[in-house]
């Protein structure tokens, strides 16, 4: 392995990238677009659920109860209904996701201590939103009835009720429970995986298509020098992408960064080596830019999105698919990034993931070296 030849190949490859706006686009613009797009759009938090109310009671008590909903950031009162027909139309037209029906005898029931039932009608077609909305509605209702109980005890001169059990939740790592904080580190991993493989998937195939490979294999350049030289520029682009992603996370999305920056860069360089080599391997085997980029997209995009635990928890997947996720490299990088980013974990707790990424990179690189022939078939 001669450094001079490696650097000659790397320099040439840099020039290709600089002179081809498409590869610059793939390398820099697409990752940024993806970060912004998903950073803004991909949120699992449900708030401001549109709500309609049919208040049959029309009393101060019912208005206080409803006020509890409209004051909450989880609900947005979008209208009053005068009957079930109107509720049905509001939900069908998707103006409302949840409807409350307050009965005529609401105030009397509350005042007498008999209690009252309020009906909640929920659009269950999006089960995720529906269950969140239901949970929020129960919470608002519970706090209203606690308040009523306390008030009536105080009025009746009764002593405060003995303290029951009280759950004091304390959320670690992502204390605001912002789903974006959870998604963003994973998003970096997914973007890096897709971009890295896509970039290198073109490089060897292009040399075959343009005809330069025939010239190149007639020179003393070795396979190792060729692969390494071609990896270097894309590695630099990948690292630049990581830097941009961290800056976007810091300054645009306010993602808290608790871990050590060097650890993120170190684990990313190992991950990149594997992802770039995978693209290179695909390029070497197919010898066609079109085929190679398609395969690289399918082989990285789908598993990285669906099976890495980036959005969909692996623990909820059927067992055979859970097993399969063990060979998805993005999964380990997602875990690594989340661990470092949100929990500030050190290498000691993440060494398994890091070792897997290292082994994957070594394996794919070896395969690529083995498959690259300095011969025309």
């Amino acid at each position: 392995m001669k450094a001079k030849r490696v650097s000659a190949v790397a320099r040439k490859e840099f020039l290709h990238v600089l002179r081809d706006w498409r590869s610059l686009g793939i390398g820099i613009a697409i990752p940024l677009v993806m970060l912004f797009l998903f950073g803004y759009a991909l949120t699992l938090d449900v708030d401001r659920v549109p709500l309609v109310v049919w208040d049959q009671s029309q009393t101060p008590a019912s208005r206080t109860f409803i006020g509890g909903f409209s004051a909450s950031r989880y609900f947005q009162l979008v209208g009053e209904a005068g009957g079930y027909g109107e509720i049905e139309r509001a939900i069908e037209a998707r103006r409302a996701v949840i409807a409350l029906v307050v009965p005529v005898d609401f105030a009397r029931g509350v005042a007498s201590g008999r209690g009252s039932s309020v009906q909640a009608i929920i659009d269950g077609s999006d089960s995720n939103v529906a269950s969140y909305a239901l949970g929020y509605a129960e919470g608002v209702t519970r706090s209203y009835s606690n308040q009523v109980t306390l008030d009536s005890m105080r009025r009746g001169g009764l002593p405060q009720p003995a303290a029951g059990l009280d759950l004091e939740p304390r959320v670690w790592f992502n204390s605001d429970m912002e789903s974006r904080n959870y998604i963003f580190p994973g998003l970096i991993a997914v973007v890096m995986m897709v971009i890295a493989a896509l970039l290198t998937s073109l490089t060897v195939a292009r040399e075959w298509e343009v005809g330069t490979m025939e010239q190149l294999i007639a020179t003393p350049v070795t396979r190792g020098e060729l692969i390494l030289g071609k990896l270097i520029p894309y590695f630099c682009i990948g690292m630049l992408d990581l830097l941009l992603a961290i800056l976007v996370g810091e300054f645009v999305f306010d993602i808290p960064m608790r871990g050590q920056l060097w650890l993120i860069f170190a684990s990313c360089s190992v991950f990149l080596a594997g992802a770039l080599s995978l693209g290179m391997l695909i390029s070497i085997v197919t010898k066609s830019q079109f085929l190679s980029s398609q395969i690289a997209l399918v082989a990285t995009m789908l598993p990285a999105f669906l099976l890495s635990g980036f959005v969909f928890p692996i623990a909820n997947m059927p067992y055979p698919i859970q097993l399969f996720t063990h060979v998805i490299t993005a999964r380990y990088f997602v875990t690594l990034l989340r661990g470092i980013y949100l929990k500030g974990l050190g290498l000691r707790l993440l060494v398994g993931e890091a070792l897997f990424l290292l082994a994957f990179a070594a394996l794919v690189l070896t395969l690529a070296h083995h498959k690259l022939r300095k011969k025309i078939e």
Partner: protein
Amino acid sequence: MAPSEAIKTNALQKRFGKVTAVEELSLGVKSGELFGLVGSDGAGKTTTLRMLAGIMDPTGGETLVLGRNMAQEAEEVRGDIGYMSQRFGLYPDLTVLENLRFYADIHMIPARERGGRIDELLGFSNLTPFKERLAGKLSGGMKQKLGLACALVHRPRVLFLDEPTNGVDPVSRRDFWRILHGLLGEGVTILVATAYLDEAERCHRVGLMHRGRLLACDTPKGLKGLMTGGVLEFTTEEPRRAVRLLSADFPSGSVALFGEKLHLYYADDPEEARERAIASLKKAGLEAPRVRQVEPSLEDLFVSLLR
């Protein structure tokens, strides 16, 4: 193998599935020789050159270049071999200078020699004024000269050129051959594949390839000696019609059209052939052609060998 033999093949064969591209090809090229491999498209020239350059493995036989078997030991002699493929094999998005520098570095030319060597190559290929131009924006002739310059950057001892002047204008072709003859002065062994027979005449020795086989191999003069009989050149008003008429009267392959002139190959008696031809044309109402006996060219030989 004699040490003076830079290139040698023994019963070389290449099959792609059921298609045979090269069959039983044996030839030797002496050190310092300019050897032309001539044949039409699909004759197997490119496949032969690829095997000689060690970038394609034969399915039979062997190739030795500078004493190395190119199927197994190609990497040992890469530094002594220059190869220029038929397709323009340089990076179109790199400039002339960047292409040359890339190949110089790949061949480990030391930094202090690189500049001088590149200037020298730019000079003799007349590319100096275009050194900052992107290779993809060069004319056909300049592309080929750049390709040659890149193949020569490491001063190879053996040079393989695959149809280097294909589609190149006549002036650039002449330039190109001037450069090749200059290289012979440096002792470089050159094997050039070409479909142009006039180029083959500039070679020391020529191998005629057809359908994967070597039909004949000798000096241009010696090859012409292979031709039995001679060539009569006819100049007529209607050469195409004359070809049709004579083809009917003479054995197949005896008549060929070269531009507006018609060549008739005779086996032994020129007078008998001339009279028969004129009579046959007169009978069809064509006016009397001008006829003269000409020296056979390689092209004539090629046509008559394929008869």
